[in-house]
Structures are given as C-alpha cells and as structure tokens.
C-alpha cells in the first residue's frame, strides 16, 4: 500500500493545472445535481438506498467521468439524469431549471447498442431530429454532417446489423448529438468493446467532444479510461451510493495514449486504486480452500 504522502500527490497541482481548473469552474453550470436520493423497495418489504444525498455540478463543456465499485448506483444516477427514472428526493437542474422525464436536451448513449435495427444508419441519426418536427430534407442534411463527424459517412445506407460494435457506438453518439443536447450521458458505452477498439473509441470521443459544444457525463468502471477522458472524476462508493471524492485530473490536454505513463496520470491512478480497491477486498467473500489436486506446489 502506498504511503499517504504519495497518494496525495495528485492534489499538488502545478500552477498551470490550477489555472485550468479555476477557469473551468468559472464557466456556467450546465447540469447540477442537488441532494439526489433514490431508494428501491425490495421484495422483502425493506428499502435499499441506491443513491444518498448526491450533489455535484458539471460546467459547460466539461468532461466528467463517474466511477465506483459495482453497486454504487452509477447506472441509477445516469438514468435519473436522463429522466428515465424518478428520484426519491432531490432534484436535477439543467441550466438552472429542474428536469423531469426524458428529453433530447440530455442525449444518452447506452451500453447495449440501442440503434433501431429497422432504420439505416442515416435514418437512425435523423430519428431525434424528426421527433423534434424537423422537415425530412433538412434532417437528412444534418444527419449526414453528424455522420461525417464520426467518420461513418460511407456507411450511411447500411443497417446496424452490418456494423461492428465500435461503429454502432459511433452511430449512437451521432444519433444522441444530432438534436443538439446540452448534456451527453454515456453509460459504459465502450464496456462491450475489445481493448483495441475501446482505445480507438476513447480517442474518437475526445475528438468529437472538441468539435461540439456539449457537456459529457461518462460512466465507466475502467480507471485508465476515466483518467484518459475526464476533466474531473466523480468517485462514488457503494451501499449506499455517495460521493467519495471529486478528483481533478491534472493530465494536460490534448490527451494522448502515451500519457498513460506520465507521473500525473500515475498519481491519479494510484489514488483511484486506493479509493476503489480496498472496498473490493472488504466486500469480496472469502472462498473456502478446497484442494482438488494431489500435485505438489510446483505451480505458484
């Protein structure tokens, strides 16, 4: 276990980094969460609190990652933000106004590929625009622009079943961004992808984010992914889900995979491991030792 002084390394910010976060916090707050609590009744008649008194704010064009052990209510949180679920108490404010119910001003990218299989790639992207009442020709023109942005213009007439997992998620991102949302909510969007596609997608996402005026909240359980993408990382703890720490990632932008070995990156990583992994040890059930082999201990 690393010494506390080492673990606190990430708190010592270089002046340039401190300046970056000061400017970030001067930007207007787009999404604010106040005292958010969500509890579910269980079959046994008791209540399970998934989230308790959660509060944080995301500033304009900020990239926030939400990370935490399983069962910390990450998905509950993002569903509340999307309006797909109602909080037990507390509220979610978008540009200072409380939200209720789903609305395209909070776009969402799901972990499963939720593209509409009966629509072509282009039609999928047009869906949100047409729901907003946009006339077909204009919706088509805009959809094509978004497909250009995610690099899939060649596949505009393909059906989702013909695309790879990474391509499907790029279409899903284009589809969520097309109605010009204020916030893009992403629920472990790259969780089902292989490692290589995943890092490509992370790179793509940062590129897209640089070109669009959108605030991103991104759920993940991958520490490196969180550090690589985020301005700030919201660390939750489980049972009940509460904010454990809000980490300001000092790694400079634009990000690059080579930064994974930089001291700033490693300092944040150490801190995240400390916050998340000890809990894992506490919660993991010890298995009984059952010997099923007579061989000696020649395998470590």
């Amino acid at each position: 276990m690393s010494a506390p002084t080492q673990a606190q390394d990430y708190l010592r910010q270089a002046p340039a980094v401190a300046e970056r976060f000061r400017r970030l916090k001067e930007r207007p707050v787009v999404l604010e969460v106040r005292d958010l609590t969500r509890s579910f009744p269980t079959a046994a008649g008791k209540e399970v609190t998934a989230l308790r008194n959660l509060a944080f704010a995301a500033h304009r064009r900020e990239f926030t990652c939400i990370i935490g052990p399983s069962g910390c209510g990450k998905s509950t949180l993002i569903r509340l933000l999307a309006g797909l679920d109602e909080p037990t108490s507390g509220e979610v404010l978008l540009d200072g106004k409380p939200v209720s119910g789903p609305c395209p001003d909070r776009g969402m990218v799901f972990q499963g590929y939720t593209l509409f299989p009966w629509l072509t790639v282009k039609r999928n992207v047009m869906f949100g625009l047409q729901m907003a009442g946009m006339e077909k020709g204009q919706a088509e023109a805009e959809a094509l622009q978004w497909l250009e942005l995610v690099g899939l213009i060649k596949f505009k007439d393909a059906y989702p079943a013909q695309l790879s997992g990474g391509m499907k998620q790029r279409v899903a991102i284009a589809r969520a961004l097309a109605p010009n949302p204020r916030v893009l909510l992403m629920d472990e969007p790259f969780g089902a992808l292989d490692a290589q596609t995943r890092s490509q997608m992370q790179h793509h996402l940062l590129e897209i984010w640089r070109n669009v005026d959108v605030t991103i909240l991104f759920i993940t359980h991958d520490l490196d992914e969180a550090i690589y993408l985020a301005d700030r990382i919201l660390v939750l703890k489980a049972h009940p889900g509460e904010v454990q720490e809000l980490i300001e990632v000092p790694v400079p932008r634009p990000r690059h995979p080579a930064q994974t070995n930089s001291p700033e990156f490693l300092a944040v990583r150490r801190r995240l491991e400390e916050l998340i992994h000890p809990r894992l040890e506490e919660t993991v059930e010890k298995l009984p030792i059952v010997r099923l082999t007579k061989a000696g201990d020649d395998v470590e």
Binding site: L84, P102, T114
Partner: protein
C-alpha cells in the same frame, strides 16, 4: 489422413447441398412408402381383383373381394365341376396408387361436373380461397391492431385478454349453426367460422409478439424526444414488424385448417364440397388430388410470403431459406450445364 467433417451433430447445420437433399427426401420417403404399398404385390394388398370370373356366379371382372372369400368361392366352383376364377392382389379402393393420384391431379381439373349446378374443381378452389381470404382479412383487420394495443399497453391487455382467452377455447365450428342463423346459408357464415377460428388466437399471438419488444429501444427513443404516439408507431411496431409478419404467415396456415369445417356450414361449398362429392362417387384418386392441391397451395403461399418478407424487410438478418437454397442450387447446376 484428413478427417471428414461430421455432418450429423447436435445443433450443426448441414451443408446447403445436404440440406436440399434432406428436403427432397422428406417428400420422397413418404412417397416411396406409398409406392411400395401400392406396387409391390406382396406388401399389404388385402384384396383380390377378379380378372376372369370363371364359373363363380357373382364374380365380375375388376370386382374386389377379400382373399378368404375368393378362395372359398373358387373351392366351391371347382367342387361343383366348374372353373376357378383368376385374380391379382389389390389394395382397397380408398388407397389409389401414386400414378392414379398423379393422373387425377390433372383429370380432376379437366373433368366436367356431373350435375349441372356443380362446379369445376378450379371454381371450387377459387371459392375456397376467397372464403379464406375474407375470413383472414377481416380477422386481421381487427385482430392485428387490437393485438398490438394489448402488447404495447398492459391495461388494454388486462381488459381484453381474459375474455379472448375464454372464447379461444370454444371451438369455432360450434358457432356454425349460430352463424347460419345470423348470416344465412351461403358464403357469409363460412367466412364467419374462419374469422372466429383465427381472430382469438391472432389477438393473443400478436400481443405476445409485441410484448417481447426491447425496452432499451423505447428508452433510447424517449431520450431522443419520442412521444407516446411515436413510441407506438415509430418504435414498437417497426421493431416487431418482422415477427408480426411471420406470425401472420403461421396464422394464415391456421385459417386453412378451419376451411374444411367452415365449408360444411350451411350449404357445403368449395373444395370441401368437391372432396365430399368425389368421395361419394368413390373417386378416391380425385379426393387425394384435392387434398394434395390444398397442401401445395398452402406451401406455395407460405414460401411466397417468406420470399416477399425477405424483400420488404431489408434489415432482416439473413437466414438460409430452403426455397432460395434450392433455387441457388438449380441456378448453379444450370450454370455448369452451360
């Protein structure tokens, strides 16, 4: 040594050539058994067809009698100093040989009706197809939308499905007499029986299909701004469309099974009338021909609809179709020939 791939294993699809062979065999095997029973004289053949009557008084050429009777009468005739009859083993009249039925497939169409007000076979068939069409179309017109509403909105299902489930168990032919009383004796009550036989199953089948829609797609559509109406018409219905289409194919087959009971309601008509009439005249080859024609119409309709389905749902994940594989093989063979 190269290992030959196993073609017979759990869950393993055989090659396309093997699939076609198996598909043909599935028709040829029963046909083969039928041919064996018909053409090999020592298999079954419980009767004797008299060729020369001899001195047996009541024997006539082509008369069918049981073996025991034949031998007994011959013994009597010989004892009386006469000559014995000769004959060949034969099957009963209700089992015509394949070639007779094959011939009947043509002659049944070419034979003019015996009575003046009877119909030709093609006219009877057309009448049957019209009955099926209207019964199924009327049922679908109400059943499909109602099923979709039940599948999409649980309160509608709670209101509708209990009574539908109840009526479903009442056999449609039981309503035949009622249908005649209300709708008369001609075409309408027959359509009504097909309607009753299809409709209640249809509502439940369609509702179940629609209920299986993916809730994640609904949520995705909601975050994109879809309202309640759009969720139904732009998400739920299209997401189930392929399954609904295939349900309709199966239900159409169902409607055909009600045809025979529907057509005896009121004045018997259509293919059922033809079959009953031919059976009365003991033209069993025509009876078999008519039954086979119904099967062919069903198979061709179903495969035709499957073919159309693949055209109108381009997003469908392609599965190998028997018909297409067969056509492809024919195409390849033709290509090789040239």
């Amino acid at each position: 040594m190269t290992r030959r791939p196993r073609w017979f294993a759990v869950g393993k699809e055989p090659s396309s050539r093997a699939r076609i062979t198996l598909g043909l065999l599935s028709f040829l095997l029963p046909l083969g058994i039928w041919a064996l029973v018909s053409y090999v004289p020592w298999i079954w053949h419980p009767l004797v067809r008299v060729s020369v009557p001899g001195t047996v008084e009541w024997f006539k050429p082509d008369l069918l009698v049981e073996h025991a009777v034949f031998n007994e009468e011959n013994a009597k005739a010989v004892a009386a100093g006469g000559t014995a009859a000769t004959g060949t083993p034969a099957n009963p009249i209700f089992l015509p040989a394949p070639h007779a039925v094959g011939r009947a497939l043509w002659t049944a169409f070419a034979t003019p009706p015996i009575l003046r007000d009877e119909l030709w076979l093609h006219q009877s068939l057309w009448l049957s197809i019209r009955t099926i069409f209207w019964g199924f179309a009327l049922s679908s017109l109400i059943g499909v939308p109602l099923g979709i509403l039940c599948g999409a909105y649980p309160p509608v299902a709670r209101l509708t499905e209990p009574v539908v489930d109840f009526v479903r168990y009442m056999p449609a032919p039981a309503f035949g007499a009622l249908a005649v009383a209300v709708l008369g004796i001609y075409g309408a009550p027959k359509i009504a029986v097909i309607f009753l036989g299809t409709f209640f199953q249809q509502v439940l089948v369609i509702a179940n299909t629609v209920r299986r829609h993916d809730p994640a797609l609904i949520e995705a559509a909601q975050t994109l701004g879809a309202g309640p109406r759009q969720l139904l018409l732009r998400v739920i219905v299209p997401s189930c469309l392929i399954d609904l289409y295939n349900d309709q194919r199966i239900l159409l087959g169902w409607a055909w099974t009600y045809l025979i009971v529907a057509e005896v309601v009121g004045i018997s008509s259509g293919i059922t009338f033809f079959i009953n009439q031919q059976a009365k005249y003991r033209n069993f080859d025509n009876v078999y021909a008519a039954i086979i024609i119904i099967g062919v119409i069903g198979l061709v309709t179903d495969q035709g609809l499957a073919f159309i389905g693949r055209r109108i749902f381009p997003w469908q994940v392609r599965r190998s179709s028997r018909l297409r594989a067969f056509l492809a093989l024919l195409g390849r063979k033709g290509g090789q020939g040239v």
